[in-house]
Amino acid sequence: MYSYFIRRFLLMIPTFIGITFLCFTVTRFVPGGPVEQAVLRYQQAMSQTGEGGGGSSSSQTTQGQISEEMMQRLKEIYGFDKPFYVAYIQWLWRVCHLDLGVSDTHSRPVWDLIKEKFPVSIIFGLTGFLLSYTICIPLGVWKAVKHSSSFDTASSIFVFIGYSIPGWTAGVLLLMLLGGNAYFDLVPLGGKESAAIQPGSYFSQYLQQGGVAADLPEAVRKEYPKLKDTDTINSNHPAYQHIPAEKRAQLTTGKHDDLTWFGRFLDTAWHMILPVFCYVLGLFASHTVLMKNSLMENLGQDYVRTAFAKGLSENVVIFKHALRNSLIPIATGLGHMLSIILAGSYLIEKVFNIHGFGLLGYESLIARDYPVTLGILVIGSMLKLFGNIVSDFLYCIIDPRIRFS
């Protein structure tokens, strides 16, 4: 069995190379890449300054023309000066050293960007994923136990709805209904936390004590050069203790950071309601049906018949014998958790404007920021490959009958 997993790990390498090579080649050969975009920006800038100058110099290059060496320089900057296979090998070499390059649009290492955005997606996606398990498993079990009862038929309606409405579509619909633009004002319009809390909003009562930066003593002010006079600082800020006691007051406006921990928790939860609901809806139908069918299949097996014949009660047979076995396909799905979450994040984060992994990938595609695009592809495919192995591994652990060879 260990040799099986070793082989699986070795197989990851060609898979990974195949995926990245395909996408890398596409980014190379299709027009409209970063070099062309840079030339376009340059030409636009030139034509604007040219209009201002009024056709003064004749020695300069003609408008919109880019000299050969400048083109060469641009290609070097974006790494387009070498043939694509050389560039690919160099890129792969750097990826092996965990260097994903520098983003063209953010001017920051891609790795830093991904590290910053990844937890956001994971928090939203994981909550949704786990919630969908806690809803779907009991529901599926109950549907299987009460097969073809009125409860089964009624809940099947919800399963059909789940099949027919993709989670993110429901997100757009609910955002319209509940987001305060057309009907009810119950949920925020998006983002992961409140940018500004006005007096009278849901969370203004959870604001901390704080003061204005202008009230700080001069000596302390110098330590924090970034603070402007009008900035408020809350009691978490290291400089807060230097504010004279009589100037401290309950804040009336502020940001997410100015809330107490309970307020911050509530604020985050408030922003998570709809996106998490969308994740759950996206997984709801398939998980429920999987659970139900799996349990139904086990209930028809001989060992269940034997258990009944021994005189065990229905509860014991179902929950102790059949349920354990029918959880196997559901449990192995946990291996794919991360890649399922990421697949959902491209759409849901776009709908709710959550600045996470998926939105980063989307924006990098719009801006033709290929280092980020490829970086996200690398992380995404690695997670998917590991997910495959983990789910196989879970299979082995849970179900001792299965032997890979």
Binding site: T27, Y163, S164, T169, L173, M176
Partner: protein, 504 residues
Amino acid sequence: MKETYENNQKLINTIALPLFWAAIYAMFPALGEKGINPDYSIEAAISFGLAIGAVIYLLPLLIAVLGSFGMFFASPIFKRRWRKFQSLKRGYYAFILIISLFFLSFFAEFLINGKALFVKYQGKIHFTLFSFESARSFGLKGYGVPNYRMMKQVYQTRNSERAERLKNGTATEEDLKYKDWGDDWVMLPIYPYGPVESLLDELPCRPPHPPTWLTGRWRQAFFEESLFVLPEKQPTDEELKTKYNRPDWVGLDIAKLYREMAVAGLFELKPGVKMPGTFQHLLGTDDRGRDVFARMVYGFRTSLSFALVVSCFCYAIGITIGALLGYYGGTFDIVMQRFVEIWSAMPFLYTVMIFAAIMIPNFWMLVGILVMFKWMGMTYYIRAEFLREKSKDYVAAARAIGCTDGAIIFRHILPNALTPVISFAPFAVVADIGSLVSLDFLGFGLPAPTPSWGELLGQGLANLTKPWLILSPTLAMFCTLLLVSFIGEAIREAFDPKQYSRLR
């Protein structure tokens, strides 16, 4: 394979030759004029080879696969299952409904279109639906496509003026000719708005416009001060309470107050401004002033055709490869299975997004991209079916009487292995519609003016105060997918019945 070719030699050759030349001309449009560009001679040679291979190998394959589908559909088992399917009312009616809607949508041009069906001008009847006619040839100004809705009105006024002149005896020479010609007329489709034409010059205010059958608050979007004759001075609080009997208007700022008053119908329209009629735009217009209902209908056709085409291609590839894997086994099976495994480890949505974003595809390119990353699903099932069927007696018997491999695969085994294909098809269609809508929503789908649901959802997300932009595509998609999954459920029930035996 060879046998299939020999059986259908004439048919294959007649189809293959034109296809072959069509493929070559499609790949090298310059061929007809200049010959193959020497810079691309290697690529040309490769494409040439591929084209030949495609024609010689794929065509018999296609015929063979279609043949096995034919045998599958003709088998008594299929007929029995089909009767079972018909008895499952929900799925059967959903099937009938969606098939007839899809069929009807191919005649959408005759029902929902901005162009006229027929125009009678100066005694001649023109069929204008698919041809380009300039406005000048119908007695209007300009060389562009005429606005047929306007033309209808112009013709009506002209006809009545002409009748007037004939009555008064001041008829011109042309008027007299019309005695023989008869009146001009324009025959418009039932719903005379096209999916891609912008109606900005016909509608007041800025788009998106709300559905015209809705009244009251929904019409607020129509209010723009420049459209109405405003009162000379703002009504005082006293007036609001007594004259208009609306104490709740007291204290509103002037813009809001005028809006409320306009919605309540207290203002006259300025001369020349025409509000749309009550049932003119059933679902309103989108943010470029295009009719949403027309776009929904055409979007239905696009989505469903797209999903069907993608599923067909995926199945064709998946079935063939799965069949070969299952039948031949051995090293080929192992190598190919590893390849399928590698290919399915791609993060599907993101890879498709990358390809679509970079290539900016048209309909068939998008089909190609999706098929490229989606064909693997079916291979597993077909392979498993083949592994099971291969060991049965009838296969051994077929081999004993000297059938070729091709005949065994396509004549004998495949018709028996198609059950999973049929029972998964509706769910594949659901998934493909979902993919297309997602890609369109993200802006990586079909190119810009193509009517699509996803694009409308994207507009809706940008205009959250305009519910018709979100409700229309969501409901259309929901209904379509619901019907298709009803079909899927019924087919699964009829074709793949899992008899759950239980003691209690």
